[in-house]
């Protein structure tokens, strides 16, 4: 798997990994330089000023503010370059581009369950196209795990009760390690898998070749019916006794307490498992909690469904499995899986 010519560096296969490597080489250079400098001076002194007779006493040497200032300021300046460089890349790592393909990841002792927006499910394996931005929306059913792809130089904890994100743009097709990096119990070291980066065309074939499953949005819509959400929020999310859901994702929502909250993944999730936490203005606390009744995966499906309700004019297509959400044509936030068909 070693593709790089530099020894002891894992394969570098994303747009970010080369940037991280550059910083790493800089840090390594500084470390090696200072280690050699200090041990060199140390060894030199130890030999030059070794005790020659058992009775000698050297003259005391006066301290020096100049020197102290010098060797405080120089390391500080160097440290600040490292800080700024590291922070700048980190910011890029944290902020996913708007047009990224979304993939849902649910961690569970001890496996990774992955589902593409088109419905393909994978376990401990993630297929992604090279050259396209991919955003993982991740959570866990039990303990904290950590999604770690060394070749992309990224990792992020998946935290129960929350959604965390990772994004990357793979550059080189190939098969790379996927590890769980946060200790999660007995079979922690078995919670591994691979990330398969494919050429975009191959990836599209792969997607359609496996397209026998229901998309998360469609599955979410079924749940939406069976759980009875439909009776208050309306068949197309147009609202009723409960607030309207269509078009809500990514917008600000006014709450009863006068505040506004962004309807992101976390808010939608909270509103399902703990509906009273942030009530939409104008609605009473009548919704029952779904805590314990829907699994994390089902929550992801509901989330995908609500996200798909972006156009208010057209009700989503219900029954046909494997169909991309029909609503997404012309959507302002393009859902890439459908635009590509």
């Amino acid at each position: 798997m070693q593709t790089s010519w530099v020894p002891f560096v894992p394969p570098s296969a994303s747009t970010l990994s080369d940037k991280v490597d550059a910083l790493y080489f800089y840090l390594s250079g500084v470390t090696i330089f200072f280690t050699l400098l200090i041990s060199g001076v140390l060894i030199f002194f130890v030999i030059k000023y070794r005790r020659r007779t058992p009775y000698e006493i050297p003259r005391p040497v006066a301290g020096s503010h100049k020197l102290e200032t010098l060797w405080s300021v120089i390391p500080f300046v160097i440290a600040m370059t490292m800080f700024a460089w590291g922070a700048q890349i980190y910011f890029q790592q944290s902020k996913a581009p708007k047009n990224a393909v979304e993939v849902y990841v649910v961690g569970k002792q001890w496996m990774w369950k992955i589902q593409h927006t088109t419905g393909q499910r994978e376990i401990n394996e993630l297929h992604v196209p090279a050259g396209r931005n991919v955003k993982l929306i991740m959570t866990t059913e039990d303990v904290i795990h950590d999604f770690f792809i060394p070749a992309f130089r990224i990792k992020a904890d998946v935290v129960p009760g929350r959604y965390t994100n990772l994004w990357f743009k793979a550059t080189k097709p190939g098969r790379y390690h996927l590890f769980c990096a946060e200790y999660c119990g007995m079979n922690h070291s078995g919670m591994i898998g691979s990330v398969v980066v494919m050429e975009p065309t191959e990836f599209d074939d792969w997607l359609s070749g496996n397209a026998s499953q229901q998309s998360p949005a469609a599955a979410g819509q079924q749940l939406y019916q069976t759980l009875g959400c439909v009776s208050c929020h309306g068949g197309a999310g147009e609202g009723g006794r409960g607030p309207a859901l269509s078009g809500v994702f990514g917008r600000g929502v006014f709450l009863t307490n006068g505040q506004t909250v962004l309807a992101d993944e976390a808010y939608i999730r909270e509103s399902i498992v703990n509906p009273q936490a942030k009530l939409v203005a104008g609605f009473g606390p009548i919704m029952p909690t779904f805590q314990g009744q829907v699994s994390e995966e089902q929550l992801v499906h509901l989330l995908a469904f609500i996200k798909s309700l972006q156009i208010q004019t057209q009700p989503p297509v219900a029954a046909r499995p494997a169909a991309p959400p029909a609503t997404s044509t012309g959507s302002p936030a393009p859902a890439p899986e459908s635009t590509r068909r």
Binding site: T256, N257, N274, Q276, A277, K278, P285, T289, Q291
Partner: protein, 239 residues
């Protein structure tokens, strides 16, 4: 130069019987005890600090749930307990004062009053805890087979039941820890009372009374914060 001199300050022969062998004089011994207690109180502040942090975080996250749960606590009992505890701090201060000026009788009386007030506080606390037990407001399985049921709590606005339970856990954790400190304090003061009654403390040596007093006042201060935070914030939502 390795000069040495004989004992500085008061020689051991002429010193107070309560002077420990490794101290040079009473002043040093008193200072050490005093600083020691203050340093200990720093650790206590940090100890409660962790819980205050959790309280602050979750109160800001679930204000209505916390208000609803808080309103179900008994304000009269909380307020009376505040008065009792401040009164006990006052008698404690007087006990130290009596030791300083060497009035043994007053000192003993004040110590007894302090202990009685401390026990009163704990008694009222026990009544409160029992009320919560009867109302099924003991969170989780702290009492096995007696699950939490917040039916008696009037839920305000968008309060969620889980978060009401969390308030009660924080309430029991904080007041429970406070009560443990009270019990330790009462034990400490009982020992002090025993020695005070035997006339051990005089104007020159009363460091144990003083530092027990510091501890007692600290426990009082914790309550001064707990009372408004747990009992009062959120009352106004009822109107």
């Amino acid at each position: 130069m390795a000069e040495t001199v004989e004992h500085l300050g008061v020689g051991h022969e002429a010193s107070h019987p309560a002077l420990q062998h490794h101290f040079e004089n009473m002043e040093q011994q008193r200072e050490a005890g005093n600083i020691g207690m203050w340093v200990f109180l720093v650790t206590e502040i940090m100890f409660f600090g962790g819980m205050f942090l959790a309280y602050t975080l979750y109160r800001s996250k679930f204000p209505m749930a916390f208000a609803s749960a808080s309103n179900h606590l008994s304000l009269p009992m909380g307020a009376v307990n505040t008065v009792v505890l401040i009164l006990s701090s006052f008698t404690m201060a007087l006990a130290v004062y009596s030791a300083q000026i060497g009035k043994r009788r007053n000192q003993v009386v004040c110590l007894i009053l302090t202990i009685v007030l401390g026990l009163t506080f704990l008694g009222i606390k026990a009544v409160e805890y029992h009320e919560k037990y009867v109302d099924h407001l003991i969170p989780g399985q702290l009492i096995p087979g007696h699950p939490f049921k917040p039916d008696k709590v009037h839920l305000l606005g968008d309060a969620a039941k889980e978060n009401v339970e969390m308030f009660y856990w924080i309430y029991f954790a904080m007041t429970g820890m406070h009560a443990v400190h009270m019990i330790i304090g009462v034990g400490l003061l009982s020992v002090i009372l025993f020695f005070a009654a035997r006339g051990r403390y005089d104007p020159e040596y009363h460091s144990p009374v003083e530092i027990s007093g510091l501890y007692w006042h600290f426990v009082d201060i914790v309550w001064i914060f707990l009372f408004p935070l747990l009992y009062l914030l959120g009352r106004h939502f009822e109107h």
